[in-house]
Symmetry: C2
Subunit: 351 residues, 2 copies
């Protein structure tokens, strides 16, 4: 197993299955953990950082968190490889761009990854396609237990797990889902979703997390604080009350559009597919925007000559690092636009 | 012969043949004439206007200007029929929208038409595909002579033909060509063409003449004054110096684009055709814009599955009145957008 092999599929987060997958692309849970008796990373000397990386690498690999894992020395990885991992949501942008000793342990089915020396000593994440937080919680607790058996995590009887950023203190748990809300965007009701997120104290972000714009019609919502609540409370509220609200809004907008403006939907969907099949130069942003509308068409059963699986894979495979990995060469942005267009024509069976 | 029959073809001005037809869509010559001893139209009583219309109608029909002519009582025609004639460039917008007694005599091959009671008592025009002003001049002089044999035109020994607007006094001649300048538009050099037109004292207008915006990539250039020059001088200068200048600019821009940015051209051309074939709702403006780029692709031999003839016809047949005539029913704008998209898919062999 090597990184380039990832480019053959869309990984877990874009598999396009699981509950409510018409709206919920993927679910993600993340835990922040730090070793007891060691300073937080920003307070570590360079040597301490190196020691931490080596020690945590050994502990995690020994813990056997998944049948097959890949360890990536992120500091030594090429820029292209680091970007590939970001595009697959296996490491954060921050982790890709830092300049400290750091690594990532990745279950090869991409359902779990652990960042070593990110903001905290350990950031454990579990990903699931669709709205599948219950299984994700069970999985992340299993991994947490395996690691806790080998490492002593900083824990305070009153505050809970201690973390570099105060917003993570407590359970250290962050829950998020990636939502596809094209109909709310099309009807102009997306503000309603933003207000709902605000009222529920949720953060709403773009496709690549903190500090990124909402790209096209994709929105990531997550809980903002973890102190004073149990993991079960946070997750249960998220699954049972919050996410279904957004799903309900989006589905209502979709059925409203179909009832009142079916041909406006068809127009957007058909044009999008046609452009993806015809372009000779195309950016990843435009590709994402057009694929989003094609995905809507497939989900509404208005488009039958393209599969959801293909669309989901293309979201990822047309991004800069994936494209270059797939084609096996580094390309300047202008060359990428041409290569991406050619790749799309091939995959979408252009006329 | 009736008006609806016109919708079966693109008429003369979009036939897509003739010299320099890659850039020059069509050539047009127009003469303004007024009867001696009668006031200009704005000075006529309603009764005088009616008399003029009846008398000129009789004279023109008797003159036998073409083997087959159609007389249209424009005042009595439906709005749809009047718009159809405007879209075919057989009458002006002003003539279509006036509320006085008026008519139009049209050679059924659409190479010539005469408006009765437009701004002047008579406006005679001859149209030719491509840059073909020499033949157009011979033809309009022939028609002028035939009419002059039956009607006494207002003529002043010193000023020449007298006309309602001083800019037409003299020969009463206006020469114009419709240019297709997509490459100059794409390279941003269109301003150069505008400056050249200005320096040559030419007026530059949109697709439907005076007061209309340049639609997409089509520009109509015409001489501005006719006093003190012979018909031959005006036409010769236009054919030999002015028009070739624009053709040269546009051709240079096209070959420059192909050399430096062939895939940017292909991208625009292929996307345009794809959208025309895929849209479910489309306006006439967008259709015109996209067809213009398809036409460029055909002329540059970058697109082989669509013929120039088809593209030229579609420019006309997708316009509001043509579309409604072709489909045999009146449609609201929203219905037209849908019907137009369906018509385009059928004509362009959509997948």
């Amino acid at each position: 197993m090597k990184l380039a092999d990832f480019t053959r599929s869309a990984g877990e987060w874009l598999r396009g299955v699981g509950p409510m997958h018409d709206v919920v692309i993927s679910s993600r849970i993340r835990l922040a953990r730090n070793l007891a008796g060691m300073p937080f990373l920003t307070r570590c000397t360079a040597e301490q950082q190196r020691d931490l990386e080596a020690r945590l690498r050994k502990d995690i690999l020994a813990a056997g968190i998944a049948p097959q894992v890949l360890y990536v020395d992120v500091a030594a990885a090429s820029e292209l490889d680091r970007r590939l991992l970001v595009e697959r949501h296996l490491i954060s942008r921050h982790h890709a761009e830092a300049d400290t000793p750091r690594g990532a342990v990745i279950a090869v089915d991409e359902t779990a990854s652990i960042m070593v020396n990110e903001e905290d000593h350990l950031r454990i994440q579990v990903l699931r396609s669709g709205l599948d937080l219950t299984n994700a919680v069970a999985e992340i607790e299993r991994i947490d237990d395996l690691l806790a058996a080998r490492a002593d995590f900083a824990f305070h009887d009153r505050y809970g797990y201690l973390t570099a950023c105060p917003t993570n203190v407590g359970t250290g748990l962050r829950v998020s889902v990636m939502l596809h809300l094209p109909a709310l965007k099309m009807t102009g009701e997306i503000e309603k979703a933003f207000r709902a997120a605000h009222d529920m104290h949720l953060a709403i972000r773009g496709l690549y997390g903190e500090g990124t714009e909402a790209t096209g019609d994709f929105f990531q919502i997550s809980n903002q604080t973890t102190l004073g609540r149990t993991e079960e409370q946070i997750v249960e509220e998220f699954i049972e009350q919050m996410v279904p609200k957004f799903v309900e809004y989006e589905r209502a907008a979709r059925s409203g559009l179909l009832q009142r403006r079916a041909n406006a939907v068809d127009d957007k969907v058909q044009r999008s597919l046609a452009v993806l099949r015809a372009a000779r130069l195309i950016s990843s942003e435009e590709t994402m925007y057009l694929l989003s509308l094609v995905r809507l068409g497939v989900n509404l059963d208005r488009l039958r000559d393209v599969g959801l699986q293909t669309v989901n894979e293309l979201f990822l495979l047309t991004q800069p690092a994936h494209l270059q990995k797939t084609l096996g060469k580094e390309l300047a942005p202008e060359q990428r636009a041409e290569a991406r267009a050619g790749f799309l024509r091939k995959r979408l069976g252009a006329g």
